[in-house]
Each structure stands twice: as structure tokens, then as C-alpha cells.
């Protein structure tokens, strides 16, 4: 399989069928940089307002639950491990172990979203959401803090959902043997995306949940 691939590339046959795993990964990394800069803009806004409203930010952050944040951190870190294990497994041809790890990863992703749902629901129940009278009664710095909180964790949540769908598709591909020991770059790229989601959270977590 791998030999015939190389034979095709060497003979310079059809550009459309040629396969370049490093090129694919390069494309994926370049895409990840766009995600990095997308969140980078948000982090810039965060830093800007944290500088302007330092005290209000500390005060507002006491409303957030450190334990839920920590729980979600552990969930995401562990799911990052399982997706890395799934790739390592497929490289070794261990299909079942890969499937197991992907299922666990998807489970963790769902757990993260469920947690997020309860966290947001509780906030909204207390009247802390953009445009709510209770929130508008607070100081400007607190309004901005919660504005940033909803936008940044919301955008991150959206990425979790996208990653979840991507991994579910990969799971199907592994089951159908479209992703195998010799051809797994799609799984690797989805894994990269999932790790990026984890990386963003690594920074969101201390900036929102740990600044009391």
C-alpha cells in the first residue's frame, strides 16, 4: 500500500490522487493559527479591559465557580490524552483500542458541554446575562467581565461542539476502515483540532475562574 503510493508519486502521475501527509498536516496547522489569532483577538480585548477595570474583574470573578471550572479542565485534559492515545493506537493497528479511546473522548466532550450548560443556566437564573436588569445594575467593569465571559466561553463551547462532530465522523471512519494503520492523517488532523480546543481552555480557565 505504502509502496504503491510512493510509486505513484515518483512517476509524477495525476496531481489529484497524489498524497502528501505532511502537506495535509501543514494545512491543518496553518488553519490552527487562524483559530489562535481569532481567540487572540478576544484575549487582547480581555487584557485591555482587565487593565482598565482591574478591581471590578476580581470582584466579578467571585461569581464563577472554581470547582466547575477545575472539573471541566480535568475533563478536557483527559480527553486530550484519550484522543492522543487513539492516534497512537491506530498507528499500531490496534483498531479496537482506538475506537474505545475515541468513544471516551466524545463522552468527555459531551460531559464538558453538560457542565457548561448547568454553569450558564445557573448564571442566567441569577440574572447574570447580557441585557439582564440585574447585570445592568452592576458596575461597568462587571458588565464587561460577564460580556467577555459569555463570548469567550461561548465561542470555546462552539469549538468543542465542532470538535465533537469531527471526532464522531472520525470514529465512523475508523469503524468503516477508512482510517487505518497506513492512512490516518485525517484522524491526526482532527486530533490537532481537539488539542487546540484544550489549549484555549488552558488559558481561559485561570483568566476567568482563578482571579478572585
Amino acid at each position: 500500500m505504502s509502496q504503491s503510493d510512493q510509486a505513484i508519486t515518483a512517476s509524477g502521475d495525476h496531481g489529484h490522487e497524489h498524497r502528501d501527509d505532511i502537506g495535509s498536516k501543514m494545512g491543518m496547522w496553518l488553519f490552527l493559527f487562524t483559530e489562535l489569532l481569532l481567540f487572540g483577538g478576544m484575549f487582547l480585548a480581555y487584557g485591555y479591559y482587565r487593565y482598565l477595570y482591574s478591581d471590578e474583574f476580581h470582584f466579578a470573578a467571585t461569581e464563577l465557580s472554581t470547582s466547575i471550572g477545575t472539573l471541566n479542565t480535568v475533563i478536557l485534559l483527559t480527553s486530550s490524552l484519550t484522543v492522543a492515545l487513539a492516534i497512537a493506537a491506530i498507528q499500531k493497528g490496534k483498531k479496537n483500542f482506538a475506537i474505545f479511546n475515541l468513544v471516551v473522548t466524545i463522552g468527555f466532550a459531551l460531559a464538558f458541554m453538560v457542565n457548561k450548560y448547568f454553569e450558564w443556566a445557573a448564571k442566567m437564573h441569577h440574572g447574570i446575562y447580557p441585557g439582564a436588569d440585574e447585570l445592568l445594575a452592576k458596575s461597568n467593569g462587571e458588565i464587561i467581565f460577564f460580556g467577555l465571559y459569555y463570548v469567550m466561553t461561548g465561542l470555546h463551547g462552539l469549538h468543542v461542539v465542532i470538535g465533537l462532530v469531527l471526532l464522531a465522523v472520525m470514529l465512523v471512519f475508523v469503524i468503516q476502515d477508512k482510517i487505518t494503520k497506513d492512512k490516518y492523517v485525517a484522524l491526526e488532523n482532527s486530533g490537532l483540532y481537539w488539542h487546540l480546543v484544550d489549549l484555549i481552555w488552558i488559558f481561559l480557565f485561570p483568566l476567568f475562574y482563578l482571579i478572585q
Binding site: 505532511i22 502537506g23 494545512g27 487562524t34 483559530e35 481569532l38 485591555y48 467593569g141
Partner: protein
């Protein structure tokens, strides 16, 4: 070749489809061939360009005399916004990379296609979706947006026009730009022909590489900015709303962190095209190849560090104003390096003044004026005097239209025979170039003077003392309209009826001149092995070219 029979028949890419439809529109709009995609962009982008031109001519018509002539002020506001949005997001940003980058980058580096052909098609579709969103926002009941193309808050949060849809269109178009950029970077890294080292790559490739990096790193920042404005409009999150503690200056930072580098997304490919055309028509290798290649990267990098020179009068700190002013002067250096190297290339060359070369001469003149007046704006004291006047309008039209727009035509005239296999009328092209030069200076040069005298930009009305110059400018806009009709009319005619072009009508030596006109589906019968630097004209002796 595995299936050599097909290759030997020499069908051009017009006759060979990449999908299951052999003919008709479906064979085009679902084609993954980089050349077809490039042409699809050409048709779409040219159409929007003409709409933008029309909006500009209408604006000038309103300004032919003081007071109300044709439209209500609100319609005038929408007209200049439309002109800006269409020209920036639908014409000039995608213009050169998406059309000529798609068509010629793979050929110039000796590849059969880009690295991700299907992604390439997707990015064209995303462009179409963005364009349709922008068009819908014009016709919906609340009316086209009226904020100017910069969407500054807080007005863009308050305005009752169709802001959200229009700026989401910009978001979508940005996504298309990103995908094109990441495709090109991967293509350049992974698909170069054997022997095509980095320093044997044509300079257009270098400029596309630098451009692609800006597309990837800068575009997401405006993406998030646009999302925040939309969220602000719907949910009132407070980030850009001063009544809730938000700071509008943050919007301007975020906006210009993208939109200043975006200026280099526009101009860098144009500079790349100039570096292709000048050696071909001077019959001489480019002077200072490495300096030009590296100055592209330098422009791309330093271009990130100067964004706040758009904000000198908004109340940012003095420290940052001084820093940004200094950095702005530095960005002029690599542009100067390029201009000097181009001129040095022509020195003692045997110049053959064909239309593409004449258009490049237009470019050098107009772009130099644009660049030098940029220094006036980059310097703090003078900027205070002329900011938000016609001076700024004149400056960026000289840089953007006189720079990138001129090169859009130069590139079209240079590569037209390769793209369509037919030749246009040389004399008509020369007349168009001359007419363009006159029209351009009539249209925009009076704006430098009016701006210096204090005529503010974007105003619906003006004082009587500006009347003469406003009228010169308006007449210039008519002349420009005629020039456009002449250019597009003659080129569209030549596409169908022009005489068959030689495969190398100019005597160029980069790889695109070694292949058929129009190229075959996979460009090369055999992937070439590159043994020389890109502009080595000694190889012309063995090449088949149209000599005088």
C-alpha cells in the same frame, strides 16, 4: 506518463473537465482545476469591480455642484459605504491572489495544481456566498449599511440599516481569503518542481507567499471583531458599547490590526506582478532578486506593527503615537528597496514597451505619489492637519487604485494571451493606458489640493470655493468610466474574436511561457526540472517565442 495518450492530444483546460460534467456551467462551478477557479474569480471580481466603479461615478455626480443635486444625503452615505465595501472586500483583497495567484502560482513553481484543489473550490464558493450576503443586505427593507467601510462603533451598533448581514458577509469573505492563503503556503512549501529551490522561485511566488501569511495571521482578528459587533447589536454584551463601559478605541485597534496588514494583502501581489513584467520587457534579469524577495517578507512583517497610524487623532496615548509613527516610516523602506531595484533592472535593458510594460510605468508613477504622500500622513504633526480630509482619500486611491488597480490591468494584459490563448489589440491597449493615466490624475489629484485646503472626506455638500476642483474631479470620473468601457470591451471582444496568440508572445522565461496557451489540464506534459534562476534570459535562445 501513465496515460500518455491523453496528454499527447494537447487538449487545453477549456476542453477537459475535472468532474463528471464535460460541458456547461456545472463543469466550471464544480471544477477543482486551479485555472478554471482562477477564471471564475476573474469573472466575479470584475463584475463587482464594475459595480464599485458605478457607485463611485454616481458619488462624483452628486458632488458636481454644491448642495443637493441628485440624491438624499442618506443615499450618498450608503453609496460611499457600498463603494468602499465592494472595492475592498470583493475586488481588491481577493483580486490579484485569487485570480492570478490561482492561475499562475502553481504553473510558475512547476506544479499541476494547488495543494488542496477541493479546498480551493470551497473557498471560491465561500466567496460567492459572502458576495450574495452583501448583495442581499443592499436590497433588504432597512437599506444598505451607511457606516463607511470601516464599520466604526458605536455608530455601527446603533445604525438601523442592515449592518449585521453586511458585516457577516465581510466575515465570510475573510474565511475565503484564509483558505486561499493556507492553500498557497502549503503549495509553495510542498509542490515546487525538482530544482525549484526557494531562490529560484519567481518573485510573484515570493510575494504570494508573504501575502498568504498575512491572510492567515491577520484575517481572524477582523473576524472576531465583526462577531463582537454583531453580538453587541443583538445581545448588548457591552464590549463595544460606551454606555456599558466598552471602549470604541478597542474596536479601532482590533479593526486596524487586520485592516492595515490587509493593505499589504492588496499591494504585495501587485509588487510581485511588477517584478515579473519588468524583467520580461527589459530582457534582463531582475536586479537584486534576493533584496526584492526579502523585502516582501519584511513588508509583511513590519506591516503588522503600524496599524495605529489610522488612529492618531482618536485619543490614543502619545507614547504609542510616537512609536507607531516611527514604525510607519520604517515600512516605507522595503517598498523603496523594491522601486529602486525595478528601476535598476530597466537601466541598460533593451526595453520593449508593450502594453503590460506601459501599465507598469503607470503603476510606478502613481504608486510613488501614493507612497510619498503616505509619509505626510505617517508623520504626526502633518497628519493632524490633513486627517479625515480628501488628502487621505487621494492618498489611498493613489496607492490602492493607482497601485493595485493599475497592476490588476497590467497583469490582465500580461497574462491574457496565456489565459485565453488569444491576443488583444495592442494599439487599443496602449490608448487605454494613456487615457487611464490622464483620467486617474484628473480624478484624484485635485483631491490632494482640496484636502490640504480642508475639504473633509465623506461629506455630502461642500463650500463654493471647492466647486472648480470638484468639477475637474467629476469630469475625471467620466473619463475613467470611458477607459473602463474601452478596457473591458476590447478584452471581452478579444476573448472571443482575438487572433490566436503565440505561446510566448512577450519572450518571457518563467515556467508559464514554456507551456501551451491556453495550458493543458495538468499544465505540464512532464514536471520540469529547474536548472536556472527564474529570469535567466540566456535560455530564450532555445525557446520558441514571438520575436519582432
Amino acid at each position: 506518463m501513465a496515460n500518455g495518450t491523453v496528454a499527447l492530444e494537447e487538449k487545453s483546460f477549456y476542453e477537459e473537465s475535472t468532474n463528471r460534467w464535460n460541458k456547461g456551467i456545472l463543469a466550471w462551478i464544480f471544477s477543482t482545476d486551479h485555472k478554471r477557479i482562477g477564471l471564475l474569480y476573474l469573472y466575479g471580481i470584475s463584475a463587482f469591480f464594475l459595480v464599485g466603479v458605478l457607485a463611485g461615478i454616481l458619488m462624483r455626480l452628486e458632488l458636481i455642484a454644491p448642495g443637493k443635486d441628485l440624491f438624499e444625503p442618506q443615499f450618498y452615505n450608503q453609496l460611499f459605504t457600498l463603494h468602499g465595501v465592494i472595492m475592498i472586500f470583493l475586488f481588491i483583497i481577493p483580486g490579484l491572489p485569487a485570480i492570478f495567484g490561482n492561475f499562475f502560482l502553481p504553473i510558475q513553481i512547476g506544479a499541476k495544481d494547488v495543494a488542496f484543489p477541493r479546498l480551493n473550490l470551497l473557498s471560491w464558493w465561500i466567496y460567492v456566498v459572502g458576495a450574495i450576503m452583501a448583495l442581499i443586505s443592499i436590497v433588504l427593507p432597512d437599506g444598505p449599511l451607511d457606516t463607511g467601510w470601516t464599520f466604526y462603533v458605536p455608530y455601527s451598533v446603533r445604525s438601523g440599516t442592515n449592518i449585521s448581514l453586511a458585516i457577516m458577509a465581510a466575515f465570510v469573505l475573510g474565511f475565503s481569503s484564509i483558505l486561499t492563503g493556507l492553500n498557497f503556503i502549503t503549495t509553495i512549501h510542498r509542490m515546487r518542481a525538482p530544482g525549484m529551490t526557494w531562490f529560484r522561485m519567481p518573485l510573484f511566488g515570493w510575494s504570494m507567499y508573504a501575502t498568504a501569511w498575512i491572510q492567515i495571521i491577520a484575517t481572524p482578528v477582523v473576524g472576531i471583531t465583526i462577531l463582537l459587533v454583531v453580538l453587541e447589536r443583538y445581545f448588548g454584551i457591552g464590549i463595544f458599547d460606551p454606555t456599558l463601559g466598552g471602549d470604541p478605541i478597542l474596536f479601532q485597534h482590533l479593526f486596524w490590526i487586520y485592516s492595515h496588514p490587509a493593505v499589504y494583502i492588496m499591494i504585495l501581489p501587485a509588487m510581485g506582478v511588477v517584478s515579473e513584467i519588468i524583467p520580461t520587457f527589459a530582457r534582463r534579469t531582475i536586479f537584486g532578486y534576493k533584496a526584492i524577495a526579502m523585502s516582501s517578507l519584511a513588508i509583511a512583517f513590519v506591516g503588522y506593527l503600524v496599524w495605529a497610524h489610522h488612529m492618531f487623532t482618536t485619543g490614543i496615548s502619545d507614547t504609542s503615537r510616537i512609536i507607531f509613527s516611527l514604525l510607519t516610516f520604517i515600512v516605507a523602506l522595503p517598498s523603496g528597496v523594491k522601486v529602486f531595484n525595478w528601476v535598476a533592472t530597466m537601466y541598460k535593458g533593451s526595453i520593449d514597451p508593450k502594453p503590460p510594460f506601459i501599465w507598469v510605468m503607470n503603476f510606478i508613477f502613481l504608486f510613488s505619489i501614493g507612497g510619498l504622500t503616505g509619509l505626510v500622513l505617517g508623520s504626526l504633526a502633518t497628519d493632524i492637519h490633513v486627517h479625515d480630509t480628501y488628502f487621505v482619500v487621494a492618498h489611498f486611491h493613489y496607492v490602492m487604485f493607482g497601485g493595485v488597480g493599475t497592476i490588476f490591468f497590467a497583469a490582465l494584459y500580461y497574462w491574457f494571451p496565456k489565459m485565453f490563448g488569444r491576443m488583444y489589440n495592442i494599439k487599443t491597449a496602449n490608448i487605454a493606458a494613456a487615457l487611464y493615466f490622464v483620467a486617474f490624475n484628473m480624478l484624484y489629484f485635485p483631491k490632494f489640493i482640496m484636502g490640504y485646503m480642508g475639504m473633509p472626506r465623506r461629506y455630502y455638500d461642500y463650500l463654493p470655493e471647492f466647486e472648480a476642483m470638484q468639477q475637474i474631479s467629476t469630469v475625471g470620473s467620466w473619463l475613467m468610466g470611458i477607459t473602463m468601457i474601452l478596457i473591458f470591451g476590447s478584452l471581452i471582444y478579444s476573448m472571443k474574436k482575438g487572433k490566436k496568440a503565440h505561446k510566448n508572445p512577450w519572450g518571457g522565461v518563467t515556467l508559464e511561457w514554456h507551456i501551451e496557451s491556453p495550458p493543458t489540464l495538468e499544465n505540464f506534459h512532464e514536471i520540469p526540472t529547474v536548472k536556472t534562476e527564474p529570469y535567466d534570459f540566456s535560455q530564450l535562445k532555445e525557446m520558441d517565442y514571438e520575436s519582432k
